[in-house]
């Protein structure tokens, strides 16, 4: 199976690999997928007081398409508001990376990861 040039680029030069401190108030963490299914994504966002995502980091266990999907969304969500980031659809990710049908689940997982990170951030900040 041939990977698209964009998938290869993100796989070989992943953007924003790393971790933010999950204990910090302004950090939201999303952990989605399952080891038994062969892919797990951790996506973290740091949100400023204007509600804008000022930093994003990821770590992914999975195939090249899963790594590329998560790398791509960290680029996309930086500078976006929570609402804008939450509106990103898996179809946009799949289309941008030219994912074949068997890899669509990677883009769905990346969408889930964004939502999970936003949810985590909101839950933390509702109480505070």
């Amino acid at each position: 199976m041939a990977y698209s040039q964009k998938v290869i680029d993100h796989y070989e030069n992943p953007r924003n690999v790393g971790s933010l401190d999950p204990k910090e108030e302004n950090v939201g963490t999303g952990l989605v997928g399952a080891p038994a299914c062969g892919d797990v994504m951790k996506l973290q966002i740091k949100v400023n007081d204007k509600g804008v995502i000022e930093d994003a980091k990821f770590k992914t266990f999975g195939c090249g398409s899963a790594i590329a999907s998560s790398s791509l969304v960290t680029e996309w969500i930086k500078g976006k508001t929570l609402e804008e980031a939450g509106a990103i659809k898996n179809t946009e990710i799949a289309q941008h990376l030219s994912l074949p049908p068997v890899k669509i689940h990677c883009s769905m997982l990346a969408e889930d990861a964004i939502r999970a990170a936003i949810r985590d951030y909101k839950e933390k900040n509702r109480a505070g």
Binding site: Y11, P35, F61, C63, G64, I67, V102, L109
Partner: protein, 404 residues
């Protein structure tokens, strides 16, 4: 110029040995006759070549040439052995015993027979990949007609105890078939000493051409088969159709070379394998070998690199051609059924690579491959949330994962 990746997938297929190709060439052009033509020189020439090839195949099995029939490959041989014996003896014998880690063509032939009313026992394997001989003995009943257990597993390279299986089958009066596609030419096979009644082999796994294989069918005591392909009655009526002289010649030559070089290759590949594996072990923690190390052909390793997904790893080592135990490359998300049968957990099965060494693998190849794999596993572990969590002492099993 495109540099070709280092080929380390010898269980998948092998290149045709130039000596094999050379032996085949005249039979495409000059000696092109139909080996079944009895009336003229062209037919006689081709027949002589086919019979010489048959003798070469027989020799590597310690069989009689009359007991060897040519097929299109091991898939056909396995189909013919299993369905052929089942159908011929079905009046009295309607039970077959095989094993969970067999090749798909054996399992699927058995499933097909089950749909036709046969009963099939799928023996489990122990964590090292070998069957439990007591379980085999217990599974045999008066209705058992055939035991089909592979000689060497295609994913994990382990060698089943053929001699012991053959002994049990002979004692109980049950035919013993073995799929030896991964064994012939790599380990000594002796159909007499091992009491093998039927044996499947493939040419392209032993440096011969693709599209040809053979089935050994014992004559004393005689094993009878219902043919799958009917026609002119070639191959003692068990497999009709004009034989391809060049393909048969290629398989024969491949067997001859494999037989001559088996011992030296065994030693050479064992050294290469050990060199490669010890390099990985020295540089990488938490890697696990799937399948027994001792009862294994030297040309195979199947390793789980924990917390690094196999398909992702393969993408990063594109200078090396290997295959993954993670089946995510296919439409299914299920990891290898062979690894699952050993009791390897799904998350570990997703992290495995099958690495195969063979006749044209050099020391430089394995050194280069080992370094590339080490570098990429380290890079991907730095990117793996599971590796990070394991480092922090988090028990991954304590987390409620959302399986998708």
């Amino acid at each position: 110029m495109v540099t070709r990746p280092i080929y380390l997938d010898y269980q998948s297929t092998t290149p045709c040995d130039p000596r094999v190709l050379e032996a085949m060439l005249p039979y495409f052009t000059i000696d092109f006759g139909n080996p079944h033509s009895r009336s003229h020189f062209y037919g006689w020439q081709a027949e002589e070549a086919v019979e010489q090839a048959r003798a070469q195949v027989a020799r590597i099995l310690n069989a009689d040439p009359k007991e060897v029939i040519f097929t299109s490959g091991a898939t056909e041989s396995n189909n013919l052995a299993i369905k052929g014996v089942a159908h011929f003896y079905k009046a009295h014998k309607d039970h077959i015993i095989t094993c969970m880690t067999e090749h798909k063509c054996v399992l699927d032939s058995c499933r097909h027979l089950e749909q036709g009313g046969f009963k099939v026992t799928y023996l489990p394997v122990r964590p090292n990949g070998l069957i439990d001989l007591n379980k085999l003995r217990e599974a045999i009943t008066e209705r058992t007609g055939l035991v089909s257990i592979m000689a060497v597993n295609n994913e994990i390279g382990i060698i089943q105890p053929l001699e012991e299986i053959g002994k049990i089958c002979r004692e109980k009066g049950v035919f013993f078939h073995t799929d030896a596609a991964q064994a012939v030419g790599k380990i000594p096979i002796d159909v007499e000493a091992m009491n093998i009644d039927l044996l499947s082999l493939s040419s392209h796994k032993i440096y011969g051409p693709k599209g040809v294989g053979a089935l050994y069918v014992r004559r004393k005591p005689r094993v009878r088969l219902t043919a799958l392909i009917n026609g002119g009655g070639q191959e003692r009526g068990m497999r009709s159709g004009t034989l391809s002289t060049p393909l048969c010649v290629g398989l024969g030559k491949a067997c001859e070379i494999a037989g001559e070089e088996m011992l030296s290759e065994y030693k050479r590949l064992t050294a290469l394998r050990n060199r490669f594996y010890s390099t990985l072990q020295a540089e990488l923690e938490e890697i696990y070998l799937n399948g027994d190390l001792e009862k294994r052909i030297p040309g195979n390793l199947n390793i789980s690199f924990s917390h690094v997904e196999g398909e992702g790893l393969i993408m990063g080592i594109k200078e090396i051609a290997v295959s993954s135990g993670s089946a995510c490359t296919s439409a299914s998300l299920e990891p290898s059924y062979v690894l699952r049968a050993l009791g390897v957990e799904e998350e570990m099965a997703h992290t495995s690579l099958r690495i195969g060494f063979g006749r044209f693998t050099t020391e430089e190849d394995v050194d280069t491959a080992a370094q590339k794999i080490i570098k990429e596993v380290k890079r991907l572990r730095e990117m793996s949330p599971l590796w990070e969590m394991a480092r922090q002492g988090i028990d991954l099993k304590s987390i409620e994962w959302a399986e998708h």
